[in-house]
Amino acid sequence: MKIDLLAFGIAKDILGYTQSSYMVEHSISIADLKKQLSNQFPSFEKLSKFDIAVNQEYQSDDFELSENDEVAIIPPVSGG
């Protein structure tokens, strides 16, 4: 299924884009999405951490994605 993948900060540099359609298997968990991203882009493993937000809310590893979700890669924040 297709999700809408957003990338910010260093994640944008790693992926080379800010926003893109991204194909994943149906009902993929966030844990599995993170694994898939880390396999595809090994630079993610060098980060202190990265979180995933779905439709603008942080979600934990067992959360399952749905078609057309807005999925954002959130590297360590540094606002303020």
């Binding site: 957003l6 910010f8 900060g9 260093i10 944008k12 540099d13 060098k46 980060l47 202190s48 937000a53 603008q56 809310e57 942080y58 954002a72 959130i74 590297p75 360590p76 924040v77 540094s78 606002g79 303020g80």
Partner: protein, 138 residues
Amino acid sequence: MINIKLTDQELSPSECEQLILDDQAGGHVVFIGTVRNHTSSKTVKYLDFEAYGPMAEKEMHKIAAAAKDRYDILHIVIHHRTGKLAIGEIPVIIAVSSAHRKAAFEACEFCIDTLKETVPIWKKEYFEDGEVWVAAHP
């Protein structure tokens, strides 16, 4: 009252202080963050703040609502700026008013501490010889 703003325009401490005024308030605590001219030993030329806008505003609102739940405060303002900022410019202002001052101090510190942990905003430091996304790597 909760007032949240994410903007690429200059922030104004006076504006934030006006927003939290209340005849019932006796204490007003304002935190003003500014861009420092160095990180560890390196000289910073300027910073660039990037935000996941809609989510950042939601998270800022959550922090303000949590502060109002936890502390006996009247009004709370959280303004954050994005884009390129020079040394001395203001990326963030948090202003809190309360009847008694202790609550305003605690709430203001809670807000800035939490903002730095949860709000999806990223800062890139530009040095003479390069640039780095702050906190990205261990």
